[in-house]
């Protein structure tokens, strides 16, 4: 009997393998050392990537999860190692990213005694996890991991944390992995009610100016094809949220643009002109709605949503279609009339022209000397692969890259949406790249954000992940500066940066690097970067004080979207 017993640490690793984890990200330390010791024996079955900071590990796991649709896994020690995961957990929680975070913990007999590197991780992670558990006995390890993976990936995905005391890692136990297939207190989603489909279909059929808003729920529910069929048949114009980008190819005839504070002009403005609003897998974030009191008040709202807590949370709906949108979209497509909405669609196209002349021409084909962020993305579009992944950080570059990147495939958008985590992009791009070395991963980042996690250049060096890093450098915390200019009387309080020589830093990590300051050099540099075999760091010095438009200022209504 004793021969079949293995260490708890081996159970951890073999459980991860049983869950088909391929790559995990982490950082060792005292309380997780037995697991690191076990990893040494399984390195041919499970790849571990050593990041340079635990925050890097969790953002990498997020990037991996977003592009792969699988559960991202990260590993950290107790105390500071574990608390460094918290920002990423909060990010994954608000953006519904499936993660399993495993942290070491002091031995069970030391719990609550302020032992070295002891932190109450269950308490700390509670508000930013879908579920968490502390494991104090070796026999509880495998069931906890099985349950964790099931919870992370099912229903509305999210991060879970397993805190494993050191004694459980070193004790011996039997290993018999039983995957979790469900349990009584957790319902992954509601079955779709046919009456809701009938009501929704009736509302859609009677609509003169129907309008679809789609979000990441479409991607998470693998409902991209169902969305496309629904739009093909219904002829309804459709706009994307930030995280929904990629769910529908942007050359689809019904696609009208992006929603939100820095989205497109027509999609925001016409939200208050539609008669039926069909929200699919999106949660009416305040950055999408602006002032709720003046948001789509004229519209009858249909909400296709998995999470019952998101229904009627901010925007009241007339028909809630609870459940998996992959099923509900298909049922709805069968129940609606085939239609065209040419006149209504033309209103979107007309306003799009206004945006093109008022904003896009300046952004994409500037006549002034200074380079714009938009023209960089425009050139990237011309050379990128169709399935290239765009990873962005947070700020002006994020909004510009999102606005102008030509999304053609699903799971090509990786950004910190709900939480707005600066420092997200570089490690997330690494994680996205490690899922598939052959896929083009383009990391667009600002000079502020990159310095929050710049140490991950070391992980890129060590893994040889061929990430293409585009640093849009305006020597400012640009989005904050834009707000200071617009709403704080140009008082540029602590937003200007004295920056290091980024190219030298990249080169110090043995990453091929180039700096572009002139328009004439940009095209060739982008081309060189994208064909380079290996990681590449391209710094583009852009206009210092450029702004992102259109914009819906805080407290304004979607119809008050400004072009300048």
């Amino acid at each position: 009997m004793k021969d079949q017993m293995i260490r708890g640490a081996d159970i951890v690793v073999r459980s991860l393998i049983a869950e088909q984890a391929e790559v995990i990200f982490g950082y060792p330390g005292g309380a997780i050392m037995p697991v690191y010791d076990a990893l040494h024996d399984y390195h041919d079955q499970l790849r571990h990537v050593l990041t340079r900071h635990e925050q890097g590990a969790i953002h990498a796991a997020q990037g991996y999860a977003r592009v792969s649709g699988k559960v991202g896994v990260c590993l950290a020690t107790s105390g500071p190692g574990a608390t460094n995961l918290i920002t990423g957990m909060a990010d994954a929680q608000i953006d519904s990213t499936p993660l399993v975070c495993i942290t070491g913990q002091v031995a069970a007999h030391l719990l609550g005694t302020d032992a070295f590197q002891e932190t109450d991780m269950i308490g700390i992670s509670m508000p930013c996890s879908k579920w968490n558990i502390q494991v104090r006995r070796v026999e509880d390890i495998a069931p906890a991991i099985a349950k964790a993976f099931y919870i992370a990936r099912s229903g509305r995905p999210g991060p879970v944390l397993i805190d494993i005391t050191k004694n459980a890692q070193v004790d011996f136990g039997e290993f018999n992995y039983v995957p979790c297939l469900g349990f009584r207190s957790y319902k992954t989603h509601n079955p779709i009610e046919s009456s809701a489909i009938e009501q929704a279909a009736a509302l859609i059929n009677s609509a003169e100016r129907p309008y679809v808003l789609y979000g990441q729920g479409v991607i998470l529910g693998k409902a991209e094809a169902e969305l496309k069929f629904f739009l093909d048949k219904s002829g309804i114009p459709a706009a994307s949220t930030l995280l929904g980008s990629g769910a529908l190819p942007q050359d689809h005839p019904n696609y009208v643009g992006k929603l939100g504070m820095h989205g497109n002009y027509a999609p925001n403005l016409l939200t208050n002109k539609c008669d039926v609003l069909i929200a699919v897998g999106m949660r009416f974030d305040d950055r999408v709605t602006g002032d709720l009191k003046r948001y789509a008040k004229q519209a009858r709202v249909v909400h296709l949503e998995l999470d019952p807590a998101e229904v009627n949370k901010t925007v009241k709906c007339e028909v809630a279609v609870l459940g998996d949108c992959r099923e509900s979209l298909a049922m709805l497509t069968a129940a609606i009339d085939a239609k065209k909405h040419d006149a209504w669609m033309k209103r979107f196209r007309d306003l799009e022209e206004e945006e093109t002349s008022a904003v896009m021409q300046h952004d994409l084909t500037p006549t002034k000397d200074g380079l714009t962020m938009g023209e960089v993305i425009n050139i990237v579009n011309q050379y990128k692969a169709d399935d290239a992944v765009l990873v962005t950080d947070v700020g002006q570059h994020q909004m510009i890259a999102w606005r102008y990147f030509n999304y053609k495939k699903t799971r090509t958008q990786v950004t910190s949406g709900g939480l707005g985590t600066m420092g997200f992009a570089l490690p997330a791009a690494l994680g996205a790249q490690l899922h598939d070395y052959s896929r083009q991963v383009i990391c667009v980042v600002g000079d502020g954000g990159i310095q929050m996690t710049i140490q991950e250049l070391g992980t890129i060096m060590q893994t040889k992940a061929p990430v293409k890093i585009v640093l849009l450098n305006n020597n400012y915390l640009g989005m904050v500066r834009q707000w200071q200019q617009m709403f704080f009387d140009k008082r540029y309080s602590f937003t200007e940066l004295d920056n290091p020589d980024f190219v030298k830093i990249a080169e110090a990590y043995n990453i091929k690097a180039q700096k572009v300051t002139e328009r004439g050099d940009l095209r060739e540099a982008v081309e060189d970067m994208l064909i380079h075999d290996g990681p590449f760091f391209l710094e583009v010095v852009v206009e210092k004080e450029d702004n992102v438009f259109p914009m819906i200022a805080t407290g304004c209504s979607v119809e008050e979207v400004r072009l300048s």
Binding site: I122, G123, M126, P127, K130, W131, N132, Q134, I151, R184, S185, Y186, D307, P308, A309, V311, N312, K313
Partner: protein
Amino acid sequence: MKRYTIFVITENFIGILNRITIIFTRRGININALTASESRLEGIHRITIEVTATEETVIQLVNQIEKIIDVIKAFYHEDEGVVYQELALYKIPVSKLDGGLEKIIRQHGARIISAEPEFVVLELTGHKEQTQELLEILKEYGLLEFARSGRVAVAKRMLTIDSFVK
């Protein structure tokens, strides 16, 4: 704003109460009273929370609570929809006892559950209005200590927790 009773049926899992209460904390909503106990079924706990809020807020709280992985079911009722009781204890110094107290005890249906050389402890169960009324009276009697439990309640609706546990 109205008074509501939220019922939560949960697995008996460490930290579940914490997960529930942070939903209130995050929205800045005060819990008037909270009680937790085992239910009729082994391994399943029920938590009763009394809160004063708008119905819209209560619906969102209940949705968020029900989203907790180890919560089996959460629902809410107005006061009219539940039968509820609270228990209050009053500690009074013996020196203040006089003939008047007997009348008060009889009138309110309170009882003496402990008599010590220096003090007696009265007990009254009922709605908050009743225990509060007695509290106001006993303040005249040099009340030393007062404690009141949270609400324990059962719903009037004919649904049993077995229907949620499958």
